[in-house]
Symmetry: C2
Subunit: 511 residues, 2 copies
């Protein structure tokens, strides 16, 4: 464990006619003494502040430093050891940003915030933004939107922790390849054109001032490397966050954000795929529903005999909509109660008054308007279920293609880490009923939260984790599914509940 | 010999679906192959340009790189090996700036310019500027003046060399401690207050963009370290420029700019002093005269018998004024012709019609108005001679105090390097007559030109020279003359022509 920055106590004798060492050189000497490191540097833009603070404090206090590998760099000087040494970690998502502040002195998280990514005003999806970046000043506008978001989050995080955002001493960022490019002001032009080459997969640590970030100006910024255009630093960070790269037995990380991304492997090899499956799955989960939040239906049960439907909402409030995990619960329960067939088509005759006739797109009433939070009924349309079926089919096809690729079966897996909001709220047993996840004992599935953010935290608090992320980047084999016939075949077979081949899902009752 | 930056040919295979290495990573790999260095970095602000250029050139061309000691840093990428690799060196003087452009591929100087330092608008001397820097925004204004000067010089140098200033790939700067602080935006506040401590004596190499310099934005900028408030990087650069630090036998470097600065020593030890003597000497040389340039009287001879005065001007043009070396020539000749006494006082009776009566400040006509370039007579006032006498006394006192301090005599010196315009134009034999320089054979004196600029050139063309400058900084002993009683005593004794103790100047005729 070694933080990306550290605070060390320093002191020096005061200047005199017989010791006329300059302030900066006196500071460097004291850092040399405190660290035992011979090669101490201070970037020019930080010199005046650092040397001036050291003098103002009477040539004692604390230096915040960074180990550069070949020496030590002085970032800032305080008059005394700081009470907190705040470091910020950021999950740079396409749609959402989530960040936390960690006190690097204790390793404890002290605040956390999330927000919509305002870059979305320039396009909801990655491809639209990549094209927007090609316009005149487009790249700069996209970058500025993200920088402004980060600065706003830094201010909120700081307020939550009782510090100033200008005291944040480090930033770790993990995002997908496109978001990373846009943050860094690097053109993503070639990412969406064959052969799909990013401008940079790995940039060296830079300083907050280089991007106009409102942190301590010399704060080092570490950005997770990418493996390619379709495999970003968010997932690399996730691999290390759940220690997938240390596993002896093959394990999996499944991360469903804007893309569905899956990594299979352990300490000896890592195989990954991502991309095609994502949009369908996110579309299916998000199109009709709402984010997992207060008022979102998260759990559903339907009695197979009476068809009585019970639900619970997040926070226990009146229902406002249905989130992804609620939709999965609902679909699984409807199937088990005989309210939809193996293709996911509604069975009006068993849905009674909940069925709403519509030639093109009938609906199912989950909550009547009189019971909802907004007075409108909460309904699920046939098209929503169709999208869910496509998504779950894609997910299962991804997982099975990946496992089969290396000659394994699901039963060989040690654990399956399910990341993200999807992982946090999903009930694996229900997802198994739908055939979205393989038919394994529930304890194989581990919800691991926002692994991208966790990985970014690890990166700023643990030098070894940064090394492991770089190592993982170097040994990942990425499998392209868009051109994979096997995947397309498996996708077709998975468009039934639970699957065309029901022997794959022995625990799911046959109807 | 190793330049601060180097150009290396690079090439890489083009991206394909089977080799999707990102542009930057491909570039780094090619630099790794070209240099054999494992650790290759690229600062974030240079990434887009460098990787973009590499792609635009078809993944081949040339990289301009810098050896950081622990690896290699990419500064810029060209589509082919550049014809020239321009590096700029600057002598950052208080009054004057002189700079040259060196082609780092050949080591040849390709252009040279000089100009007044426009920072002078804020104060002619160092102390005034230090006080100006204490005002609100004063430091920033002083810095901006110098940056603008450097940018204008870079443009002129580039034009003279047939390149663009944005193609200048490195800058080496040597200046006194105050000028260095003001260029770097570092407060000189404590330099003029006991115990006279600079904010920084040595800053790490930074990049042109950090100061808004109009060179290649990532161009490394090396600034010569200082030893203390009164001993700057200009003299350290000078020590290495004339190889004083390699001499077996004790030698001297005498540099008269805004300050008179003298270093005595060789490869084993270095003793230096500066300061007090300077202002008087520069005042004496510059107050009445002009810079050594076309029309300046540079040499004077007076026939002791006929009192006939002959002179020559620089460039052979009609006389416009008299420069420092001309003044020394004149005073020595007037003394030898009996036209002034050993105290430097005019002897009207031997000056005939050239004497201009004035109760407070009589003058001597060097050139009559009908023969001058501007129609006005060129005259030297008694006060000018008085200032010259003070200056020469200070100079001799500095030299003799320094030599005596280490138990040597002038005869022990191997060579005396005389730097600057002073050294270029002075006739040592005349300076000996005045008692400004010790009575040694003329071949002991070596005019060595602008050693500060030469040292800056060495620093950007030779890694070893940079090391030697750092080493010299570490082993110089600085002697403070302001509080030195011995110096004051010697100063008084030297206020006669050639000296109170004429036995010190056996070669000078006694009158």
């Amino acid at each position: 464990m070694k933080n990306i920055v550290q605070a060390v106590e320093i002191s020096a004798s005061k200047p005199s006619l017989s010791d006329n060492t300059a302030d900066l050189d006196r500071l460097k000497r004291s850092v040399r003494q405190a660290t035992g490191q011979e090669y101490v540097t201070c970037p020019l833009p930080d010199v005046a502040g650092a040397a001036g603070s050291f003098r103002a404090a009477g040539f004692q206090g604390a230096a915040v430093i960074r180990d550069t590998g070949s020496g030590v760099e002085i970032i800032r000087v305080f008059s005394r050891m700081p009470q907190k040494l705040p470091g910020m970690a950021l999950d740079l998502g396409t749609t959402h940003l989530e960040a936390c502040l960690v006190d690097l002195l204790t390793g404890q998280e002290v605040s956390r915030v999330s927000r919509e990514h305002t870059q979305g005003q320039f396009g909801a999806d990655i491809l639209t933004r990549i094209h927007y970046a090609e316009q005149n000043a487009g790249l700069a506008l996209l970058q500025q939107a993200t920088v402004s978001d980060i600065n706003a989050m830094a201010a909120d995080l700081a307020e939550g922790a009782g510090v100033q955002s200008g005291e944040i001493m480090a930033l770790g960022v993990a995002g997908n390849t496109a978001m990373t490019h846009l943050l860094l002001g690097l053109s993503p032009y070639h990412m969406c054109r064959e052969p799909y080459i990013p401008l940079a997969n790995s940039v060296d640590i830079f300083r907050a001032r280089d991007l106009g970030l409102g942190l301590s100006p010399g704060a080092p910024v570490w950005v997770a490397p990418n493996v390619g255009s379709y495999f970003g630093g968010d997932l690399l960070a996730g691999i290390v966050a759940c220690d997938l790269d240390l596993e002896e037995q093959p394990c999996m990380l499944v991360d469903v954000g804007t893309n569905a991304e899956v990594v299979l492997g352990g300490r000896d090899w890592l195989l990954a795929c991502a991309g095609a499956a994502g949009p369908a799955l996110e579309g299916g989960v998000a199109q009709m529903g709402m984010q997992a939040g207060p008022g979102a239906i998260g759990q559903v049960s339907i009695d197979p005999d009476s068809k009585r439907l019970d639900y619970s909402t997040i926070g226990g409030e009146k229902a406002l909509g249905i989130c992804g995990s609620g939709l999965i619960d609902l679909a699984a329960q409807m199937y088990l109660a005989g309210m939809m067939d193996t293709r996911g088509k509604f069975r009006p005759e068993s849905m009674q008054e909940r069925f709403i006739e519509d030639e093109d797109n009938p609906s199912f009433t989950v909550v009547q308007g009189v019971h909802s939070g907004h007075g409108q009924p909460v309904v699920v349309r046939q098209s929503d279920i169709n999208a869910l079926i496509r998504s779950k089919a894609a997910m299962y096809a991804v997982l099975s293609t990946l496992v089969q690729q290396v000659g394994l079966s699901f039963a060989d897996l040690g654990r399956i880490n399910v990341a993200g909001a999807f992982g946090r709220h999903i009930n694996p047993e229900k997802a198994v009923v739908l055939g979205m996840l393989p038919d394994l004992p529930p304890d194989v599935y581990h919800p691991v939260g926002n692994t991208s953010l966790m990985g970014a935290v690890r990166a700023i608090t643990d030098f070894g984790a940064r090394q492991r992320i770089m190592d993982a980047a170097g040994r990942i084999t990425y499998m392209e599914l868009n051109v994979n016939q096997e995947f397309m075949h498996r996708f077709s077979g998975a468009r039934f509940i639970p699957h065309t081949d029901t022997s794959l899902f022995p625990s799911v009752p046959r109807l």
